[in-house]
Structure formats: structure tokens, C-alpha cells
């Protein structure tokens, strides 16, 4: 059998019934390729069924299980014990919820609240370009798609928004801006003016401090900062009268 690790997880807890917060230590043994979500399940099974944590697909496609591990926002379904030990050079891990929305219980946050930022940028096509004369799909050459296809891979896990050094308050944050930018680069979108207004609004791109923390933590390895930089350079055009 492969190597086993002796781990300590220091988990942030919150009980909404009594409005009490504390940090609880859990000690457990785990094999090298267990994931952090497996560790939480192990704690539920063997030590404490009351610990609440969120996940869904558990293979990095839905973005539900984002948490801060030793301060770094990650998807906990993708973090293997072995890699965590290597990355942080320790077997003790501080586990905290993401900071983008209020905590409901323990590691579960009100993700619907965080999503309100995405709703502001209207992730759909606001106004569709005239259809192709042949009536079927719009034609998009691969080289046009290539310019923004990376940004379409975003799963709204909010790791970037948590890592961002700019304020959380009244700021769209990197992933919401990315959703706006995708449609600005999408040749099918006609309502660019409205999109630019959102991007350059008081809660938009001017709040970015160019730390590139978004790119650094993105679990999908999207170069978020690159797309935001294009916006800062005015590559998507200007709003009338600004």
C-alpha cells in the first residue's frame, strides 16, 4: 500500500443556531491520492457528522467546493493530499470558506448571493447579430473563437474573486468581468455599448489593481488578468462620451 499521511485540519466552523464561530481541529490519517473532499467525508463518517461543506460534481467542473486552504483559494475536489503536503510543506492545513458571500454553516457559503454579481453582467447575448443568410448557425472562424475561448471555460467557482486584492464590496470581481468580456469578444453580440458601460462602471474594471492574483489561483488555468488587461487597454472600444 502506498504512503499514509497524518494530517491535522483546522476547520473554520459557524453554527447559525447559536451564531457562534470557532476553529476546530481534526486529526486523521489519509492515503496520498485522497482529495480534500474525501477528507471532509471521512470526518463526517468517522468523527463528526455535523461538519457542513459543499461540493457537487467533485471533479473540478462545477465550482461548488472552492475553499481557502492555508489561505489559498482552491477547488477542494482537485487538491490531493500528496500535492497539498508538497505545495504547503506541512501536514497541518487551515480550512476556511471563501470570502465572497456570507457563511450559512461551517464551510458552506451563500453562493446564490455571490452569483448576483454574475447576474449584473448579463451572461447571455443581449442583442444577437443578424443571422447568417443561409439561416442556420452564425459563422465563427476558429481564429476568432481562439481569442476568447479560454475565458468561456470559467465555472464561477469564485476562487479568483476571493484571491483578488481589491475590495469585495461593490466590485464585480474578476469572474463577473470575464463573463462580460466573453460577450464583448463574441462576434454574435451587438450590444457592446451596454457591455462596455458595465465594464467601465464604478464597480467594474477600474477597481482592478493588477495584482494578477486571479490568474495565479484559477483552477482552470485561465489567464483572467490577460482578459482584464485587454479591457484596461481599451481593446473592446470606448463608451460614447467617456
Amino acid at each position: 500500500m502506498s504512503q499514509e499521511y497524518e494530517l491535522t485540519l483546522k476547520i473554520s466552523r459557524y453554527d447559525p443556531d447559536t451564531d457562534r464561530s470557532w476553529v476546530q481541529d481534526y486529526h486523521l490519517k489519509a492515503g496520498r491520492i485522497l482529495r480534500f473532499v474525501d477528507l471532509f467525508r471521512k470526518i463526517n463518517d468517522e468523527q463528526d457528522p455535523t461538519l457542513a461543506w459543499s461540493s457537487s460534481c467533485e471533479h473540478g467542473q462545477c465550482g461548488t467546493c472552492g475553499m481557502k486552504i492555508n489561505g489559498k483559494p482552491v477547488l477542494t475536489c482537485e487538491l490531493l493530499v500528496e500535492n497539498a503536503v508538497q505545495m504547503f510543506k506541512t501536514q497541518t492545513f487551515k480550512v476556511e470558506p471563501l470570502t465572497v458571500a456570507p457563511v450559512i454553516r461551517d464551510l458552506v457559503i451563500d453562493l446564490e448571493k455571490a452569483y448576483e454579481r454574475i447576474h449584473i453582467v448579463k451572461p447571455y447575448i443581449i442583442e444577437f447579430a443578424p443571422p447568417h443568410p443561409e439561416g442556420d448557425e452564425y459563422r465563427i472562424p476558429p481564429r476568432v473563437l481562439e481569442a476568447y475561448v479560454e475565458a468561456t471555460r470559467c465555472i464561477n467557482c469564485f476562487c479568483c474573486a476571493t484571491a483578488c486584492i481589491s475590495t469585495q464590496k461593490n466590485y464585480l470581481g474578476p469572474n463577473a468581468m470575464l463573463a462580460d468580456i466573453v460577450r464583448l469578444m463574441d462576434p454574435r453580440e451587438v450590444a457592446n455599448e451596454e457591455r462596455l458601460k458595465i465594464l467601465y462602471s464604478g464597480q467594474g474594471i477600474q477597481r482592478c489593481r493588477t495584482s494578477q492574483a486571479c490568474t495565479f489561483v484559477c483552477p482552470k488555468q485561465i489567464d483572467v488578468a490577460h482578459f482584464i488587461a485587454l479591457g484596461k487597454e481599451g481593446k473592446f472600444g470606448k463608451v460614447n462620451g467617456v
Binding site: M1, D45, S55, C62, R105, L111, E112, Y124, E137
Partner: protein, 600 residues
């Protein structure tokens, strides 16, 4: 302990959608486009609709482009019929295959980021079981967005629902369907974060809660897919259909069972046994590695049983290899980037230079809540339940019969989601607004929840769950026969007894995941019981349902299994005939749609 459970509030939308995944929200978008301003509440068990399991679908969506020089809708219809092992319904096959392309274009015109050809058109790739000229050569029929097609669909229908002002209720579960004079008038919904019960009364209720394979040890399904929707159907005294037909995807990543898309083989990946032999050539000389899923899964399990598999050192599990090393670098980097990253992340293997360990994994339910061709839920083959609709993986119309072809599920979500949307709009035209909350509303769910809250005993949830998952894998899995199935049924009874002696650590109703797990476990056990009994009753092999003691398909089983269970373990069966309208129409090629032999 007498915790007072009560309905906290009443909401009155026009339409209630239970399950806000691909099918549910395609339906919502259709309703809003046809009838702007319709008030819709969509309930989802996950944290936001974008997190739905639809998002994890990878490979593509089959649809025949009318401009395709060689492909024809009739070939797609034939492949689906043949793939189903002659138990899909031909009226549904016709409807879905004929409207597929139109729905692909709908998605594109609403912003989905399809992969493109050099000319800028939607790109297509081959997929298992999809062929030209009635089974001769592989067809390029699957429209895709790299290896995240499901995400593309989910993002699109979710965004469209947002545009139209659909109200979402996240982290919430429907716990009881409400009826008034035989008509469905909504549901009671438990909002997990607040611990409150809400009665949602609506003219029309659409169920689209997806799949349910979390009762299997190795499964591609997400944590939330525990069969709650089907359990609700059974509780209401309604039937479920063809539950014995569980699809095992041949290539799950060994360990967690994560799906490694058929697109990997579509792009040229091949399966190897421990001796490095391309064993699929032996079993399916024409289709080889792209034979349908049930067949490939059985071949892999046979290789493993006959000692030609390997054992994974970390997971201590048998597996075979998927070889992707010979694929061009650009394919690795652009077309299958997401999926190959799973091998790197979860088993530490680099698919560009190393072999990938794979094993069959429980993936999809071909069966579900029986509906007619408009997605109206059936009480019996002759009678529908007014006001209750279903679509997506949750429903069985049935497009897939006893085996589904890859890329036909996403196709079903969008085509049948639209069909149900249309039907709901015409139903709303003269549907009565529900009256007061029915008097008996809540009785069922409150007794279920009080039971969970008040149970005493020392049985552990994890032990029951783990035993269930191993049991289903071993005895109700890829290979089945009478003795293990009978043993499984007995053991399920024992597990149900054990489950009645689990005690909660916390009695809080607010965001209590343990309480939710108790509630889910009951559903997993209920549905497992129906799967096992349905599998025992079908003494033949058909599609994904393979009986070693009855290895052939038999004409006396040319029907759909309808199963009712209002008391645990007591399953009553009925039959629904298979629709053979294409065959009966006696058009050109009608003979291809008879009870044909299934060879690849």
C-alpha cells in the same frame, strides 16, 4: 422530541420546475419565449443552476445537419433504435432525431460556444454507435464544445432563464408532490439553508431532477444524484419505468469513477488489456472501440474477469488501459484538454506519454418517470396525470430503451425540454389556478422528517451507504443473474431496517447535511430495491441489462417495465408496449425498424 414541522409560506408561480439542469431550464426558456412574462420558480438541489450535473457532460450532442452531404436523419433514427436493443419508442426517436439540428441551432443562436470548422460552422466528431448507411461506417454527427459540451448547454439555458426572469430557489429539495382531484398542483419544497418548508402551488409542475446512480460504488454522478425525484413519483403511487436499464460507461477513471468521455475514443483513443492487446477488435470487428457503451463495458469486465486486467496500486481496483499516446499534440491540447487533465489531477498520469487506467462506471438511467411523447407523466400507459410533466434524464419517453448512445442524452435534454415547454404553454391556456393548499399537504413529508429527527439507535450512516454501494456494484451491476439479485433484494431489506436505527447528531433544521443524508438514503434504498426487482423480473438480456442466466433477448419481453412501490420491497409490475410506429408505417427502410439483431 416533537419538533413542530409546518409549512412556513406559500408561493404561487404559474409553473414550478423541480430540477434546474439542462432539461428543466431549456423547458423554462421555451415557456418564456412563447409566453413572455410567465411566472416560473425553478428549484435546484445544487447551489446555483450553473452547478447542475448537466455541466459535466463532455463529448457532444448528436444531430444530423440537413446540409451534411452523407448523413441522414434516418441513419440516426436507426442507430438509436438499434442501440436501444429494440426497446426505445419510435415516435420519440422520430420526434427527437428530426428536431435535433433545429435545437443545436437554437443553442448556437443563444450564445453557446460550439467548436468550429475552418469555415466557421459547428464542428462534428464521431461517437459510439453513430454510423452512416445503417451501420456501415462511423458518422461525424456529434456537435460539440471541445470536451465541455454540457457546460456550454447549461450556461446557455441558465443565462436564457435569467434573461426571462425565472426565479431560482437554490439548495432546495422537493419533498412531496401536491395533488387536488387527481391533478398535480405543485410541491412542498424544503429549503436546506433556512430549514423551512415552502408550499409552491402552480398550474403546471415540471420534474427534471436528472439521474440517480449514487447507489453504485463507482459512479460518474454528482453528490446530489440520489434518486429523490423518482422516490417522490413512487410515493405518489405513480409508476417508474425501465429502472433495470442502468448504463455503465466503459471508461470511468479508476478510483472516483470520474467520466473519461467517449470523445477520447472518438478522437482515436484505443482500449488495451494488460498484454497491450486491442481487445475490442475481437468483440466488435466493425465498430471496435466505438461500439455502444453496454457492449464495451461488458468486454472490459470480461477481460478483467478472465485475468487480462491490471490492478491499480493506490485504489486496489482492477482496470484496463485507455491509450491516447498516439494522438497528435493539438488534439491533446485543444480537443480533449479538460478530460485528459482529470488523469493528471486524480491519478497522476500524463495521457500524452502514459497509459490511462479506466474501469466501467455507473453513469446514466435509461429509465425514469414514464411520459408520453409530450412529456406528460403517465399513471398507466393509457392515462396521464394532469399538470405533471417530466423531461431530461429523469423522464423515460423513451428515447433510449435499454441502452443509450453517447451524445443522445444532451440531444434529449434540449429537444424534449423544448417539447415540454410547448406543452406547458398550451396547458396553461385553460389550466385552473390551484385553490388553497390541500388539507393533507405535508403529512407525508412531515412524518418522513420527524422520523429522521426522532430515530434512535447506533447504526452508522456511512456503513449502510458503503454496503449499499458495494452491493449494487457487485450484484446489480454490469453482469446480473438470479441468485445474486435475490441476495441483493434480501440485503436491501436488511439495510432498510438498519437505516431505521440511525440517530442524528444534531436536530437543527438549518443547513443540516446529516438530516439531508438520512432523507436521501431512504430514496437510494427505495430506488435500489426497484432496480433489483425489475432486473430480477426481466429474464432476458437487453441493452445495458445483461443477465448471465438469460444471455439472449427474448420476444416475450418486448415491453417496457412499469414498477409501482408504495411500501418498501413490495413492487408491482405492469407493462407498457414499445411504440413501433416507424415500422408500422411501412415506409422505405421500415424493415430496419423491426426487432432486428444487434451486432456491431
Amino acid at each position: 422530541m416533537g419538533k413542530q414541522l409546518r409549512i412556513d409560506s406559500v408561493l404561487r408561480p404559474e409553473v414550478l420546475i423541480i430540477g434546474a439542469g439542462g432539461a428543466g431550464l431549456r423547458c423554462a426558456a421555451e415557456i418564456c419565449e412563447r409566453r413572455p412574462g410567465t411566472r416560473i420558480i425553478a428549484v435546484t438541489k445544487v447551489y446555483s443552476p450553473q452547478k447542475s450535473h448537466t455541466s459535466t457532460a463532455q463529448g457532444g450532442m448528436a444531430a444530423v445537419d440537413p446540409k451534411d452531404p452523407v448523413d441522414r436523419v434516418i441513419y440516426h433514427m436507426f442507430d438509436t433504435w438499434k442501440g436501444s436493443d429494440c426497446s426505445a419508442d419510435q415516435n420519440i426517436i422520430k420526434k427527437v432525431c428530426e428536431t435535433g439540428w433545429e435545437q443545436v441551432v437554437w443553442l448556437e443562436r443563444h450564445g453557446m460556444h460550439f467548436s468550429r470548422t475552418e469555415a466557421g460552422r459547428i464542428a462534428k466528431r464521431p461517437f459510439g454507435g453513430h454510423m452512416l448507411n445503417f451501420g456501415e461506417v462511423k458518422a461525424f454527427r456529434a456537435c460539440y464544445e471541445a470536451d465541455r459540451t454540457g457546460k456550454g448547454i447549461m450556461d446557455t439555458v441558465w443565462a436564457e432563464s435569467l434573461r426571462h426572469g425565472v426565479v431560482f430557489l437554490g439548495q432546495s429539495v422537493a419533498t412531496e408532490l401536491l395533488f387536488s382531484h387527481g391533478r398535480c398542483v405543485g410541491a412542498i419544497v424544503f429549503v436546506v439553508p433556512s430549514g423551512k418548508f415552502v408550499a409552491i402551488l402552480a398550474q403546471a409542475t415540471v420534474m427534471a431532477t436528472g439521474g440517480k446512480t449514487r447507489m453504485y460504488q463507482v459512479s460518474t454522478n454528482c453528490r446530489q444524484n440520489t434518486g429523490d425525484g423518482l422516490a417522490l413519483i413512487l410515493q405518489a403511487g405513480l409508476p417508474v419505468m425501465d429502472l433495470e436499464a442502468v448504463q455503465f460507461h466503459p471508461t470511468g477513471i479508476v478510483g472516483p469513477g470520474i467520466l473519461a468521455s467517449e470523445a477520447l475514443r472518438g478522437e482515436g483513443g484505443v482500449l488495451l488489456n494488460k498484454d497491450g492487446e486491442r481487445f475490442m477488435e475481437r468483440y466488435a470487428p466493425t465498430a471496435k472501440d466505438l461500439a455502444p457503451r453496454d457492449l464495451v463495458s461488458r468486454c472490459i469486465m470480461t477481460e478483467i474477469r478472465e485475468g487480462r486486467g491490471c490492478i491499480h496500486p493506490d485504489h486496489n481496483m482492477p482496470h484496463v488501459w485507455l491509450d491516447l499516446r498516439h494522438l497528435p499534440k493539438y488534439v491533446h491540447r485543444t480537443k480533449i484538454q479538460e478530460v485528459t487533465s482529470f488523469f493528471r489531477k486524480f491519478v497522476g498520469v500524463d495521457p500524452e506519454t502514459e497509459l490511462c487506467p479506466v474501469v466501467p462506471t455507473a453513469h446514466y438511467q435509461m429509465g425514469g418517470a414514464p411520459t408520453n411523447e409530450f412529456g406528460e407523466v403517465q399513471k398507466s400507459p393509457e392515462e396521464i396525470v394532469p399538470g405533471l410533466f417530466a423531461c431530461g434524464e429523469f423522464a423515460a419517453a423513451s428515447l433510449h430503451g435499454h441502452n443509450r448512445l453517447g451524445t443522445n442524452s444532451l440531444l434529449e435534454l434540449i429537444t424534449m425540454g423544448k417539447v415540454v415547454g410547448e406543452r406547458v404553454v398550451s396547458y396553461l391556456a385553460d389550466a385552473e389556478v390551484p385553490g388553497d393548499v390541500p388539507e393533507e399537504a405535508g403529512q407525508h413529508v412531515f412524518s418522513q422528517f420527524s422520523n429522521c429527527l426522532e430515530r434512535k439507535g447506533h447504526q452508522r450512516y456511512a456503513r449502510i451507504r458503503d454496503r449499499l454501494r458495494v452491493l449494487m456494484m457487485e450484484k446489480v451491476g454490469v453482469f446480473r443473474s438470479e441468485k445474486p439479485l435475490t441476495e441483493a433484494i434480501d440485503e436491501l431489506r436488511e439495510l432498510k431496517r438498519m437505516a431505521s436505527r440511525m440517530e442524528l447528531s444534531s436536530k437543527s433544521l438549518v443547513m443540516n447535511q446529516e438530516l439531508l443524508q438520512f432523507w436521501e438514503l431512504d430514496h437510494l434504498l427505495d430506488i435500489s430495491m426497484v432496480i433489483a426487482q425489475s432486473a430480477l423480473a426481466r429474464k432476458e438480456s437487453r441493452g445495458a441489462h445483461y443477465r448471465e442466466d438469460y444471455p439472449e433477448r427474448k420476444p416475450e419481453f418486448d415491453f417496457h417495465t412499469l414498477a409501482y412501490m408504495t411500501e418498501f420491497g413490495k413492487v408491482d409490475f405492469a407493462k407498457r408496449p414499445i411504440d413501433m410506429s416507424i415500422y408500422k408505417a411501412r415506409g422505405k427502410n421500415y424493415k430496419k425498424f423491426g426487432m432486428i439483431e444487434r451486432k456491431y
